[in-house]
Symmetry: C2
DNA sequence: TCCGGCATGTAATCAGTTACATGATTTC
DNA sequence: GAAATCATGTAACTGATTACATGCCGGA
């Protein structure tokens, strides 16, 4: 994230919560210790910047060693994705042990959340697609289409379930 | 998993690797300690079964207290999904720092893996769909359609990328 | 002969979250 | 007056992975 311009830990956190939130998670408890380790290893340097009305900040700059390390990472073999643990999917799997009404509730809840996530991605896409690299476009499109697919099945499942409730 | 019939820790592990692998991960290092804790809490009982030619096994049975606990879980609010960390998506996001050829390599690799996962899900679906509960069908269909969506974008992305390589 | 399957379990390690502490400023 | 934003960081805890130990059987 520092390849193009320097950032603070706080800004990195916001980026992770925003664009990266679809395939990465984090918290201050990992970010700041990692940053400290990276400084110790000479991958980044900290530059203290005084501010008025706001707390001082540490602007992080990437070093040449840091650039080398990042490039080496990009050339290294792809790491396997870690599985997303989904309580929703788990419950669907055990849906036979609850009533249809409960399953419908779960579906509606996840439908709403997924729609919200999709809307966010679509907005990001329309805002930035002109300045995005082709690979980034693929990245965001995968997110978009995965949510659309999920929402499609949820909608179909809901109408089937609601039919089942009526005919019972 | 014990609601319908008793199982061993080993069988639970296999199930987690198989059907549940799309939305849950695990290892012996979590399974056996969890099982031990559940026995201590009175949610399950262990029944030692002698076997010939094979090591003895501990058949796990759910208790009434265990059933109550499971039902209480199903009635409790849905827990948020934990994010899937994806090295592939992360690299796509930073694709501008490598050549198109490298991005194409990543895409092809994930294409193959995803196709394999999709084939597995489709096979499971065709084998068991007649005996599956409607909610389970939704669960497996979400997995199937998500992989299809991912593969669709990867295929589109690949042909765009290959075009870009040629015209450069 | 070696590998995979059956079967249970532990120990060391690593990674991650949550909650806190601090404190000024701006917005509702 | 409360809450959110800016901003950095730590400590305690929880959770998970990895690798190992054990050992027999059947098949390539």
């Amino acid at each position: 994230m520092l390849m193009k311009e320097s950032k603070t830990g706080y800004e990195i956190k916001k980026l992770l919560e925003d664009v990266f939130s679809n395939f990465y998670s984090s918290s201050y408890g990992t970010i700041y210790p990692t940053l400290a380790r990276m400084e110790k290893e000479g991958l980044i340097t900290k530059e203290n910047v005084q501010q008025e009305g706001k707390p001082n900040k540490n602007l992080l700059n990437i070093t040449d060693k840091g650039r080398d390390s990042f490039n080496a990472y990009l050339l290294a073999p792809l790491e396997a994705d870690s599985i997303k643990k989904s309580d929703f999917m788990m419950r669907l799997y055990f849906g036979e042990f609850v009533g249809y009404d409960k399953v419908i509730l779960w579906l509606k809840q996840v439908q709403e959340e997924s729609q919200h996530k999709l809307d966010q991605l679509l907005e990001q896409y329309s805002l930035y697609k002109d300045e995005m690299h082709p690979a980034q476009i693929i990245c965001i499109q995968i997110g978009i289409e995965e949510y659309k697919a999920k929402l499609k099945i949820i909608a179909e499942g809901l109408s089937n379930m609601e039919q089942l409730v009526l005919t019972k």
